[in-house]
């Protein structure tokens, strides 16, 4: 990633000797809080993941690392599904979100504020209520299903395995649609921030040099918006990969994602070691993917 001109200056050195301890005092409460309630829980979770035992007899640390292999062997379909759904949702968010961010940044004029408000406003209705609304929208015999059915789109998606039996609810398509919907604002906002920074004169300059609109987009606008693209895809992919709400509300047991497994292992089966091991595998997988992605997006020219 290229650092933009607005990169913040390095913080000034502490002004006086007396003030040298100030940052530590300022940080102390927040850091203590994070150590207690963020780091310590991870340590406890790590220890739980190598414990064996039962609810009645209690759990003991036995360094039973096999829990990881067993969990992976048993639940790898859910892992793969999570990565697949999250990737699909991220790509869809980018495809849907880019035009809207572009519209707000360059074409909205005095409607800009209103459009921004409309993008953020759905947040204020609880996301569970909005996800339940998708149940109505995608319901069997609803307008969307009958419209897509009469256009023979559902036949096509059935054949592709995205939907099943001419319905939308309880299919992979419904879950991906819900994921896309829920995380779309997290794509639009960073895209908008990076598009809005682009100097409009660059577009004029490209036009003066006989670049057609599409060429301008490919060689000027899109490369300059890459920081937003990277931030947006991360903000979409990470929560989508761990989500269990959409699969639970819009999917069937065949669409269970890894989040659903962790939730039910922890809250229903009460198999804490497996839940802990799965959490760590998910965390490690996401960190690895994000690192690889950032390295690629950071050092190579994408366009």
């Amino acid at each position: 990633m290229t650092t933009t001109a607005t990169a913040p200056a390095a913080p000034p050195a502490a002004p006086a000797r007396r003030g040298r301890l100030v940052p530590y005092w300022l940080l102390l409460p927040g850091i203590l809080w994070l150590l207690l309630f963020f780091v310590a829980p991870l340590v406890y979770q790590a220890s739980t993941s190598v414990q064996t035992g039962s609810l009645e007899d209690g759990f003991q640390v036995t360094w039973h690392v096999a829990t990881y292999w067993d969990a992976l062997a048993q639940y790898y379909p859910q892992f793969l599904r999570s990565v697949g759904y999250a990737t699909a949702a991220t790509v869809l968010c980018l495809l849907l979100g880019y035009p809207l961010a572009y519209l707000i940044a360059f074409r909205a004029g005095r409607w800009r504020t209103l459009l921004m408000v409309l993008v953020v406003a759905p947040f204020f209705t609880s996301f569970l209520i909005r996800t339940l609304a998708w149940k109505t929208i995608l319901s069997d015999g609803g307008p969307v299903v009958s419209a897509l059915g009469s256009l023979h789109v559902l036949g096509l998606t059935d054949a592709l395995g995205l939907t099943e039996g001419h319905r939308l609810l309880a299919t992979p398509l419904a879950v991906v649609c819900g994921l896309t919907y829920n995380f779309l604002p997290f794509m639009i906002l960073p895209l908008y921030t990076s598009l809005e920074r682009i100097d409009g004169r660059l577009h004029e300059a490209a036009g003066d040099l006989y670049a057609r609109p599409l060429t301008t987009f490919r060689h000027v606008t899109f490369p300059l918006s890459l920081p937003g693209v990277v931030a947006g895809t991360l903000l979409t992919f990470i929560p989508a990969a761990g989500d269990y709400i959409n699969a639970e509300l819009l999917g069937s047991p065949d669409q269970k994602m890894i989040g659903n497994v962790i939730q039910s292992q922890f809250l229903r089966v009460l198999d804490y070691p497996t839940a802990a091991a799965l959490s760590f595998i998910l965390m490690a997988a996401i960190l690895a993917m994000v690192t690889v992605y950032l390295r690629r997006a950071g050092t190579e020219d994408v366009v």
Binding site: A9, A10, P11, P23, L26, L27, P29, G30, I31, W33, L34, F37, F38, P41, Y44, Q45, T48, L96, G97, P99, L100, Y102, L103, I104, T113, L115, V117, L118, V120, A121, P122, F123, F124, T125, S126, L128, I129, R130, L132, A133, W134, T136, I137, S139, Y181, L184, I238, P239, Y244, I245, I262, Q263, F266, A276, S279, F280, L282, M283, L287, V290
Partner: protein, 275 residues
């Protein structure tokens, strides 16, 4: 507009020029469609327990919003938790953000990544690990565990919001204040804090929204305490009362009105300052 020598017919040219606008508006429609459905179905009178199919128009739910057992109690609990979580996260986060933005010290990058990490993690992982801590230390689940969990995940967002504002601040403003014989405290209260205020406000608002709407972390750490999202989740299994839609719609309308009023006031102030 001058009639340019067109290569393609006019409607097609118009379409091509405005394609991005149309695509953007389509996305906006996709974003807003569920809110429209929520609003419309708040006037529904369903036959069964579930409010998924349109039956007939009724304003019953609007006139009796608290007629469902536990609904309004869960709502006020959520607001109460969000209030305290916002307060806690804003105080802790603002102090940390000032330290990270204004001072160079050892372990600064370590602290930065520690603050960043909770945001780069799927919520379910954080939720399960916190619940593991509470289980192992024998803390009973309820109001306090929810509050602690909410402060923990809001903290990073406050730090990020405040830090962005403070780093972009011109240090010469504070130097100027000191040149004019302001004491450090005066400088902080009358120069630094007012400039940082929008960042702090943004962080606090974000915390409130995140805490109020949080489900995943609450799901793991609530025990038998029922916040509003927990109530909706339970309702999705047992039967969804229309009142849920009423509350969703009301929150949407109130939020949009607040934002628009704020914008209006802001632009009016700007205009009066200019004249």
């Amino acid at each position: 507009m001058a009639a340019a020598p067109g290569r393609s017919p006019r409607p097609l040219r118009w379409l091509r020029r405005n394609l991005v606008v149309l695509a953007g508006l389509a996305t906006l429609a996709y974003l807003l469609l569920p809110n429209v459905v929520v609003t419309v179905f708040s006037f529904n009178k369903p036959n069964g327990r579930f409010n998924y199919k349109w039956q007939r128009f009724s304003t019953d739910a609007w006139t009796h919003p608290c007629d469902v057992d536990g609904l309004c109690g869960s709502l006020s609990l959520s607001l109460w938790i969000a209030l305290w979580a916002t307060l806690g996260a804003t105080v802790l986060g603002t102090a940390a953000a000032f330290a990270l933005a204004r001072y160079r010290f050892r372990a600064r990058s370590t602290v930065s990544s520690l603050v960043f990490l909770p945001m780069a993690m799927p919520e379910v992982v954080m939720a399960a690990s916190l619940a593991t801590l509470f289980l192992n230390t024998g803390v009973s689940f309820g109001f306090w565990t929810i509050l602690v969990a909410h402060i923990t995940f809001c903290l990073s967002f406050v730090v990020t919001a405040v830090k962005a504002r403070v780093t972009s601040m011109d240090p010469r403003l504070e130097q100027a204040a000191q040149d004019l014989y302001a004491t450090p405290l005066q400088t902080f209260l009358r120069v630094t804090l007012p400039i940082a205020a929008p960042g702090i406000a943004a962080g606090a608002l974000l915390s409130f929204a995140l805490s109020f709407d949080d489900f995943v972390i609450t799901n793991f750490n609530a025990g038998s305490t029922v916040t509003f999202p927990m109530f909706v989740w339970g309702a999705a299994q047992r039967g969804t009362p229309v009142q849920i839609n009423v509350i969703g719609t009301a929150m949407f309308v109130i939020a949009v009105l607040c934002v628009l009023a704020g914008q209006l006031a802001g632009s009016r102030r700007k205009r009066s300052r200019r004249s």
